[in-house]
Structure formats: C-alpha cells, structure tokens
C-alpha cells in the first residue's frame, strides 16, 4: 500500500491513517484559490508519510494562507501576522518529536516577518516552510505586497506598484546556512507533491516558494505562465522528475545539480523563465535544535544539584 511503513502494516486496522484523517474543517478559500491545491498536496504528503496527526503541528501567521492549520486535522497554531517562524522555532526547540510545518503568505514572510525569515534560514531548524506567494494581500483586500510585480495596480498603488518586486528565492539563497530552497507552482499537482516530499525529507529548514493563484484579486497574474508552459523551467534532480504525460506539456527541462549554489542563484535570478523543482540542497548544515540539545534531561535531582551548587557560590554560612 502506498506510503505504508512495515511496522504499521502489523497494526493496520487501528494505525493506518487515510486522507480523511488529515482533513480538518471545510476550507473557506475562494473558488479557484491556489491554496486548495496546496492543502490537498499537503494532506497527501501526511498520508503517504503516515505522520501521526497528534505529532504534527501546522503553524501559520495571518492572511488567507494562514487559515491552513484550521483545514488540517492535526495540531495547529494560527498565531500572529509575521510571527509563524519564531513560534515554530519555539515549538521545535525542545520537541524534536513533532513534525512542524509553517504556512505563510507573502505578507507574512516577505514583509512583516522578514527578520524572522532571515534568521530562520540561519538557524536551519528542521521543519518545512511553505511561502504561499500570490503576490498580493488578499485577506485585507488587494494591497501591494513586496512580491507584487512593479507596475501592477492595487488598492494602495492605483497607478501601479512603485518598486521592483522582491525575489524570495534570491533572498533565501543569499543567507548564511541556507540548506534547502525549492520553487513550485500549485497548478502542477504532481510536481507540487514531489517538491513537498523532498522538502519534508530534508533535515534542516526547507523553504518552498509556491506560486499561488489568487483568482479574486490577481486573475491575470499567471496567465502567461499557464498559457506558455515553456516559460517554466523544470529542474530535474533526484526525486524530481515528471510523469510522461506532464513531461509532454513541460518540455523546458534540465538536469540540475542541487548542491551547486552558484547555479541555483543564477537560476533564481533568471527573469526569462520560472525555475521549478529543488534549486539547492545541503544536508550538511547543522540544525539549531541539535546545537542546543541538552546534555542531559532535566530531573528534580538535577535541578536540586544545580541550585545547591549555585547557592554554594553565593553562600553565607553560620559560624563564618
């Protein structure tokens, strides 16, 4: 059976988790919203990896994408705008047994939470972060985000966005300790799933930028990409290959060495095409939670000893 682990097979009846075991509340995104596809792919990932729902936590900030945890049947933390990453760090630091996923919009990640994004890359904690990038603020109704293309009219830039759009891939690939960077489009489910799977299996901070359609506010944003699949460059690497049917549509492909940071950066900056797949992977970067792993587990006796020894250093003893 697909994704079934051997130990689960022995207790198949009670242990096996089907797709419905990960399906939370009814999603309330707009019809045609790309988040629906990301949700489906993520639920499939959880099913295929047989993640224990009680050991899985989805963390988000604020925005359309941030409703994600409500639609998963796992633990979830729908916190504050921009603060999903440091919250996830806190969850993970002393709970390495938990599978942690972070879902952020472009406002969350690239605007209000930018400092956290940079430091998360440097800390390289073992979790998956998906940037649902629809290039617009949706929940607050149509304001320019840092990734809104220059010239695009929005509610706050009626004459067109003034600044050139921020490139989240280049930004991520430029930070010390970067260990996994991928990009994918949500309208190719097969590729979306494979990229998420690669991200999940990476030990370290896996950053996945997902180009996501917002039919309500940005109906034409990806029209040219959808109409001209050649503008999408599929990076084939271990774990990332297309089925025969999909390969017929996406003919612009190349083998990519995921350990080659210089090429990854060049691809990220190439404005002529949209690279999808794993751009960069370095499994050798240490994870912050490993660097900070305690030498021993706490116990009342240990606390007593440490306190007594500290008090000894400050002691005033009778008879002195």
């Amino acid at each position: 059976m697909f994704g079934l682990k051997t130990e689960c097979a022995l207790r198949l009846d009670e242990e096996y988790h089907g797709l419905d075991d990960y399906q939370g509340r009814m999603a309330r995104w707009c019809p045609g919203c790309g988040d629906n596809g990301i949700l489906a792919a993520t639920q499939r990932l959880c099913r295929d990896e047989q993640l224990p729902p009680e050991k899985t936590v989805f963390v988000s900030g604020i925005g359309c994408a941030a409703r994600f945890p409500h639609y998963m049947k796992t633990y979830g933390f729908h916190g504050l705008h921009g603060r999903a990453l440091p919250t996830a760090q806190g969850i993970k630091i002393r709970r390495p047994d938990l599978h942690v996923f972070v879902n952020m919009g472009d406002g969350d990640c690239c605007s209000i939470g930018t400092a956290h994004w940079i430091h998360m890359i440097r800390m390289n904690m073992n979790l998956v972060a998906c940037l649902h990038d629809n290039n617009i603020y949706g929940l607050t109704k149509n304001q320019a985000s840092p990734t809104t293309p220059a010239g695009m009219a929005t509610a706050t830039t009626p004459k067109g966005a003034y600044l050139k759009e921020l490139n989240p891939l280049s930004a991520t690939l430029g930070v010390t300790n970067v260990s996994f960077v991928a990009q994918v489009v949500e309208w190719v489910p097969e590729l979306l799933f494979k990229v998420l799977q690669e991200a999940f299996h990476h030990r370290g901070f896996a950053f996945v930028r997902i180009l996501q359609r917002c039919p309500h506010f940005m109906p034409d944003l990806f029209t040219s990409l959808l109409n001209d699949p050649k503008k999408i460059l599929v990076l084939e690497s271990e774990g990332i290959s297309l089925s025969e049917a999909t390969a017929k549509i996406y003919t612009n492909r190349r083998d990519h060495d995921v350990s080659d940071l210089a090429t990854a950066r060049a691809l990220a900056e190439d404005e002529g095409q949209v690279p999808v797949g794993v751009l960069y992977r370095n499994p050798g970067v240490p994870c912050y939670e490993d660097l900070r792993r305690p030498a021993r587990a706490s116990s009342p006796a240990l606390v007593r000893n440490v306190l007594e020894s500290a008090f000894d250093g400050f002691a005033i003893n009778p008879g002195a």
């Binding site: 009680e54 979830g76 603060r83 919250t87 760090q89 806190g90 969850i91 606390v303 002691a315 002195a320």
Partner: protein, 624 residues
C-alpha cells in the same frame, strides 16, 4: 588572619555606613564594591548595593556624567535599601566625584578618599581642575584625604588602571575591619579564571591597600554584625530571578539584549543547560516572545525576559498569550521611560502598561517582587500561576533590584516548585480545548503529542472547540471566561499586612516593587518620632487582593510613593481636573473610588528613606 590584618588604631563602632566607590568606566569600582558587599554579608552584616552606571560603555574619561561606580550600605541589622547620603567615598578622579557631589549624594562632613595622581598632571588644565575641586570640597565641609593611589599601585603593577580597585578593596577592608580571609577568598573566586598571576597580583594589591590605610589613615571603624545564625545567600535580583527560573522547572528562556534585564539571561546562559534548559537569544523582542509562546504551546515552560521598550514590542504576543490561553511568564526589569528613556536607571513606569497595555480586553496577572529574595520566589510563583490559570503572568522587577545585592535565607529546594512532566496521555473522549468551567473559566489545555486532543489554536475569537467564532455571542463568552479566571485567582490572594498601625491612623503610604525597604525605613523613623504613619506594600497589582479598600478607609489620608512621574499642583496649569497621577495612584483611585494622592519623582534614583521621611513630616506638620 595574616600579618597585615593587625590594626594600629582602635576601631570606632558604627551601626551602619554608606560607602561609594566612584570611577571612570572600566576601572573596576563595581567589582570592588560588590566584593565589599559580599564580604560584609558573609560576615553577617545587613547589606544593600546599588550600581551607578553611566549611559555609555566607555564615556569620555574624567567627565561628571560618566561617573561609574557603586554604593554599598552595610549595617549591624538588616539593610533594605541604599540609604540616604554617603558617609565615605573613594574616587579615582575629581570629575566623577563632583558628578555625584553635585547630585547631593554625600553627607556633610563625609570622608572623601581621592586619587592624587592628577595634582601634578602634565596637562596644566587637569592639574588646575583637580586643585580647584579639592579646594571646593574642603570649603564645602568634606574631609578630603588625598591618596597616592596610582603611585602606590605602580609599586606592584605596571598598569594601575587595572588593579587599583583591589588596592581600594584593601583600604576599605582596613577602614571597616573586614575579614581579610573572606576578601582573599573573594579575590581568588573572582580572578581564578584569569590565572594564578592575576590572583596573586590582585591579592598583593589588596594587602598593599590594607597596609597603606593602616599606616596612613586615622579612619578605622567596625560595623559589627549580629552574627550569622542561619544559612544565607547573597546575590543581586537578576541572578536571583535567573535561579528562580531554574527552581521553577522552566525549560526555555527566550530573550533579546536590553538593559537592565540582560544580566539575568547572562547568568542563566552559564548554567541553564545543566538542567536541560535553553537560553535563546532571538533576533528581536517579538521573536523572543513568539519563541517562548511556541515552546509553551508545545508543553515546555517558558519565560521571556525584557525591559519596558521590549515589553512594548511584545504587546501583540502578550495579547495572544491571553487570548489563546498559552501560559507565559514575562519578566520586565523596568527602567526609566518613556521610549529609550533612562536605560540604566530605575523607574516603575511600566505598571499600567503591563496591566492595560494590550489592545482589547486582556486580563492577566501582574506581580512585583520587593526584595532580592522575592525575585527568586516570584519566578516560581509566576510559573505556577501561569500554568494553573493558563494565562500570562508579568513580573515587574526594576533596575534597582537588578543590580542590588542583598542577603536572604538560603532557599530550601522543594520538588513542588517544579512543573509536572509534560502530559502526553490521550485527552479524555469529548474533552474540548477550551472547556471553560462555567464558574472559574478554567480549562485544561491540550498539548501537541496528546492523542484525541487535536485542535488549532487561534488568536481569533474562538469557541470552546477552538474554532473560529462566526456566531455573535462567542466573543462575549470567551472574554467572560478569561476574566473569570482572574477573579478565581484573586480569591486565592491574602490581604496584605499593614506596616505600622493595622487599625488605621492619619497617613498611609502605598508602595509596590523595590521601594519597600525605603518606605518602611522612613515609616520606622517617623513612627519612632511619634508620627502617625503606616505603609502597605502590594505584591499583586493585577488582580489586587480583597480587603485593601477597607484598609485604605481606616486612614485619614492615603498616598502612593512611586518612582514615577506625576503632576504637581504647584505648576500653574495643573489642577484637580487635569492632574495626572503616578501609576499606582491611578489604579487605586479607579478601583476604590478613594482620593488617593501620590508622591513620586523620576530622578532615575532609588527613592531615599530620608526623602520619604521628610515628605511624611511635611504632610503631618512636623518638619525638622
């Protein structure tokens, strides 16, 4: 005792002394002063130290505003505050000395021990400034002793800049009959990390200072102690709070550097990992708070340590802690405000911000330690309250407690201090993540890893199931239950005891936090002179215990004493319609509908008992 300890003069007995060591930054005045305090505490004396810290790390040398140093008050009996004016001052140059003198920090007739190396300085401007200062001090009635501090130290070390503090330590050890063996132990403990050479050189300097003072000064006192009858510890408030974090069984401390809170995290960073804890220095104050909340959500006990400006940045997450009922302890070591304010100086201006600062209705617990000992136990109590009531607890310490050293009874470890192990058992069938008890608002939280407990925590208004509220009435219900928790907690609080006359009288002073010692000392002095004044000190500011209104009603006049700004009716524009009160006075007036007055200032200094006493005398019509 070794040979240097034999005095020439007979020691004069004193009940207490206030000593200051004043220097440029980096000359080790604080090290010497803390050692003097620790040795005195170990000898059984009452002790309080307060550091004098300039705003910059290395301000220009010989500048009045750059005065760096320490005040140490020692006494035969307990000492609860830094006292009034200094009796004896050691200064490394005359400019930093004048900085303190101008501020009125020295008693008339105080002894001033001043390094004389500036008298013959090659820069005539400096030599002149020195001579002028000495004249000024002499004519102002101080007893100036010019000390060849630099020259004497040069006999033993190449660079007296490093090391003359230990010469001073030796002088003070002679002057105040301190136990030289304890001083030597202190030096060994302090310098052993720098190697044997550093230890022996500093010991030599200390002994030289002792011998020099014995031969050249006719200052020789003893401040006898009542002896050490029980095991004690001596430390400052930030260290005590850090040890409290460990004693509370916490797992995670997330912080961002900010004065004057950071030294708590420094100390914790050195030992927290020995008990499996982690100090996480986040990229900013907001991240630190989010990190702590994430850890707590995942079942680990967490604290975030900051000061006023940092708490301001954490405000939104404080609201999330309350709204989503994630236990969190926030230690705010207050400094002068608003804005960047007085980073190294004391103030109590965060009280109303802590209670009301979060937008929306966000009931939380706010408590304040009044002593160094309180700083330790407050963390244990705060952790328990946070977990039991599933809420945010703000602990308001301040810059005075942060660096002040005081001895207190050595805590006896109890396993009850610790948090219980994280619950990973299945949640009972049908139990909801916010199953609010209709009477108390309390509910048992679900922790990731617990089967059958799946839910998504949200900062949005939510139902008992934790789902986003779409129906009217749900928000009212949530707010009501979170508020009821505070009422349930309030029912556990004991009425605080009046210091002075329980049955009432003419004047009641109300205080909170680090001012307790100074207020009670002032009350003692005034009562000894027959004045009808009492005081009441509040540990829990939100909620406040029952019975306080009844106490207030027993006094003719009630006023707060605070290190906070309040308007003065002496200002032409200020009247009853626009006068702004100090934080606690606002709070008491609002809750009890009693005309609570206030006496407060924001000089960035601990309030002195003498100043409070003078105010009491003025109020009660019995001025000196």
């Amino acid at each position: 005792m070794n040979e240097v300890a034999t005095p020439i003069h007979q020691a004069v007995r004193l009940d207490e002394q206030v000593v200051e060591i004043i220097s440029d930054s980096g000359e080790g005045a604080q090290t010497a002063g803390q050692m003097f305090g620790t040795v005195s505490a170990k000898m059984g004396n009452g002790v309080w130290t307060v550091e004098i810290i300039p705003a910059e790390i290395e301000p220009p040398a010989r500048s009045r505003a750059g005065a760096s140093g320490i005040r140490i008050r020692i006494g035969t009996g307990p000492v609860t505050n830094a006292g009034d004016a200094a009796d004896l001052v050691v200064a490394f140059n005359e400019q930093v000395l004048l900085g303190r003198e101008t501020a009125g920090e020295f008693r008339k007739g105080a002894h001033i021990l001043l390094d004389d190396k500036w008298r013959d300085h090659k820069d005539p401007g400096i030599a002149e400034a020195y001579a002028e200062a000495v004249d000024h001090l002499n004519t102002s009635g101080y007893r100036v002793h010019e000390i060849p501090l630099d020259a004497e130290c040069k006999k033993h070390v190449d660079n007296p800049q490093r090391g003359k503090n230990m010469f001073v330590m030796g002088m003070l050890a002679y002057i105040y009959s301190r136990d030289v063996d304890l001083v030597s132990e202190g030096i060994e403990a302090k310098f052993k990390r720098k190697g044997d050479q550093a230890v022996s050189s500093n010991l030599t300097l200390m002994r030289a200072g002792f011998a020099w003072a014995r031969e050249h000064l006719d200052l020789h006192y003893d401040v006898p102690s009542e002896g050490v009858s029980e095991a004690k510890v001596v430390m400052n408030g930030n260290t005590a709070a850090a040890l409290g974090v460990i004693a509370a069984g916490m797992d995670v401390c997330a912080m961002y550097p900010i004065t004057p809170a950071t030294s708590a995290s420094h100390y914790l960073s050195g030992i927290f990992d020995q008990v499996g804890g982690v100090v996480h220095q986040a990229e900013d104050e907001i991240a630190a708070c989010a990190f702590a909340l994430g850890a707590s959500y995942a079942g680990k006990c967490a604290v975030t340590i900051t000061s006023g400006p940092g708490m301001a940045l954490k405000t939104e997450l404080m609201g999330l802690s309350v709204m989503a009922e994630i236990p969190l302890v926030l230690l705010d070591v207050q400094r002068g405000g608003p804005s960047t304010g007085l980073p190294t100086k004391v103030e109590q201006g965060d009280l109303l911000a802590a209670i009301f600062g979060v937008p929306g209705d966000a009931p939380k617990v706010v408590m304040a330690p009044a002593t160094i000992e309180d700083c330790f136990y407050a963390m244990i109590t705060a952790r328990k309250i946070a977990e039991t009531f599933r809420t945010l607890v703000v602990v308001l310490s301040d810059a005075n407690l942060a660096t002040g050293q005081q001895a207190f009874r050595r805590p006896e470890f109890s396993e009850e201090w610790l948090a219980p192990p994280i619950d990973q058992s299945p949640v009972p069938e049908g139990h909801r993540p916010y199953q609010w008890d209709p009477e108390t608002g309390l509910s048992r939280r679900h922790i990731p890893g617990q089967p059958k407990g799946l839910y998504t925590l949200t900062g949005l208004a939510h139902t008992r199931e934790g789902t986003v509220a779409y129906e009217p009435g749900v928000n009212q219900e949530g707010c009501r239950h979170r508020s009821l928790k505070l009422a349930a907690f309030q029912k556990t609080l004991k009425t605080p005891r009046v210091y002075g006359s329980e049955s009432g009288g003419r004047l009641l002073l109300l205080g909170w936090g680090s001012t307790r010692g100074a207020i009670e000392e002032a009350v003692d002095r005034a009562r000894a002179d027959g004045l009808d004044v009492s005081s009441l000190h509040l540990k829990f500011l939100q909620p406040m215990a029952s019975g306080i209104k009844e106490i207030l009603q027993r006094f003719d006049e009630v006023m707060t004493v605070e290190i906070n700004y309040s308007d003065s009716l002496d200002d032409e524009l200020i009247d009853a319609d626009n006068r702004r009160f100090a934080n606690l006075a606002w709070l008491l007036r609002a809750r009890y509908l009693i005309d609570v007055d206030c006496w407060s200032n924001v000089h960035g200094q601990p309030i002195k008992p003498g100043a409070i006493e003078a105010m009491i005398r003025e109020r009660l019509g019995k001025e000196d």
